[in-house]
Amino acid sequence: MSLSKNPISRRRLIRGGVAAVAGVAGLAAADRLAKRYGLIPPDGSGIYGPGESLTYACQRLLTTRTPAHEFSRSMISKNPFANAVAPPNDAFKRLAVGGFRDWRLVVDGTVAHPMSLSLADLKGLGVHSQITEVACEEGWSYIAEWIGTPLSGVLREAGVLPQTRYIVYSSIEEGAWASIDMQDAGDPHTLLTMGMNDGDLPVPFGGPLRLRLPRQLGYKSLKYINHITATDNIKKFGKGLGGVDPEYGYAWYAGI
């Protein structure tokens, strides 16, 4: 067999080696840049870390400052589907008896003025509405009109400190919590939702208070919100993955 016929010639070996070194160097440089610009999600390690990080980084670079997709009123779903919810706990039932007058949203963490807001206080910060779609990771979706006050307004009232990197939000349901970065927190469509289709937000849809996040899948739109914590260190919460869903393998960033 002559040397030229050998499929692994010296030239090809050198070329392959150079390509591999360049590839590794490129990845290392990309990793450093991504870390500097905050493009690595809290669950960006482990075997699925590269995929999650690529998706998050690319979507962040592509979709910076693009508002949620709004639909016309004629596209509102006539029979929206309320996903199964855990039976409300005793604390929830007690508040329901009082018509949720005593429902409070606690705002704390890296803010200048920690607050505790009633639903009336929230409405006082300005009510907005939007017609957006809920898309569930399972595959189904519906469109509704959502009425509430933008999270950004509440954060402005509380005076979020400049070192804040994530907003952690949790539900009256034990152990249900999630978090978003400051870009999603500042999005005018990230809505502390109290109404749906011209009525109060029904309990199966997350009433009295749900954080609607139309640019991410439904599981990030947590129901029964009663606590918001601004933080500069997401690792301090739970297992450090930025939510309870990532602890079960679901992506922290659910824009896909």
């Binding site: 199964a84 569930c136 399972e138 139309p214 393998g249 896909i256």
Partner: protein, 226 residues
């Protein structure tokens, strides 16, 4: 070039398996922007679901595997897209695609029917076909590479709520998010069909020698397919 083929193969297997597991959580398909258990489906796959909220007619609820399935699905999608990018750039640079696009003189029904007739007679390949692809092979490859794979990426992106926020037209052109999901599913079937035919053809032309050629790039001219 061969590396991108095998990377795509591994990614494709991962995508099909995890995609199937994700579909189990809602084995109903719709047309338009929205669809859920309260709306009429376009078609339903008659299998149990991994969610008890989906009316399937079965009492049995399958185990939920969506967490890792979704993570692996998107990671495998990245592998396939990046491998496709390398393949596309190399293919343009090396002139590889010239070997794939059917020759101008074959752009007619007669060329196709003649080639099909040859397959039916089990006639051996022409001299010109020995080192290249015939019109049917070329058409299949071109459709898969330039239509089905791009369509998978497009319909996949059209299901991303963040991507469609930035580029609503990706979903609107297809008829909506649910249409994109339905097309994503149907094209998966077409790609699987291609895979079966592709593997069957490899088997017919000598599985071991073809596999050795595709893994090492080394062919022995003296060697005849068994």
């Amino acid at each position: 070039m061969r590396v991108t083929h095998w990377l795509t193969f591994i990614a494709f297997v991962a995508l099909v398996v995890t995609g199937g597991l994700i579909v189990i959580s809602h084995p109903r398909f719709y047309w338009g922007e929205v669809g859920n258990v309260n709306t009429r489906p376009l078609f339903v796959i008659p299998i149990p679901s991994s969610r008890d909220t989906v009316p399937t007619g079965y009492k049995y609820v399958m185990p939920d595997e969506n967490g890792w399935s979704r993570a692996l699905h998107f990671e495998a999608a990245w592998v396939a897209v990046l491998a496709g990018l390398v393949y596309g750039i190399y293919g343009l640079w090396s002139g590889h695609f010239r070997n794939l696009i059917p020759a101008r003189r074959d752009w007619n029904w007669h060329a196709y029917s003649a080639r099909i007739a040859k397959y039916l007679r089990r006639a051996p390949p022409d001299r010109s076909e020995e080192r290249s692809y015939n019109v049917l092979q070329r058409t299949a490859y071109v459709v898969v590479i330039f239509a089905l794979f791009p369509l998978m990426i497009w319909t996949g992106l059209a299901m991303s709520p963040s991507f469609t926020a930035a580029f609503p037209v990706t979903a609107e052109l297809l008829g909506g998010r649910q249409s994109a999901r339905t097309i994503h599913f149907i094209v998966t079937g077409l790609l699987l069909l291609f895979l079966f035919v592709h593997v069957a053809m490899v088997a017919l032309s000598g599985f071991r020698s073809r596999m050795r050629a595709m893994i090492t790039g080394y062919t022995r001219d003296s060697e005849e397919a068994p």
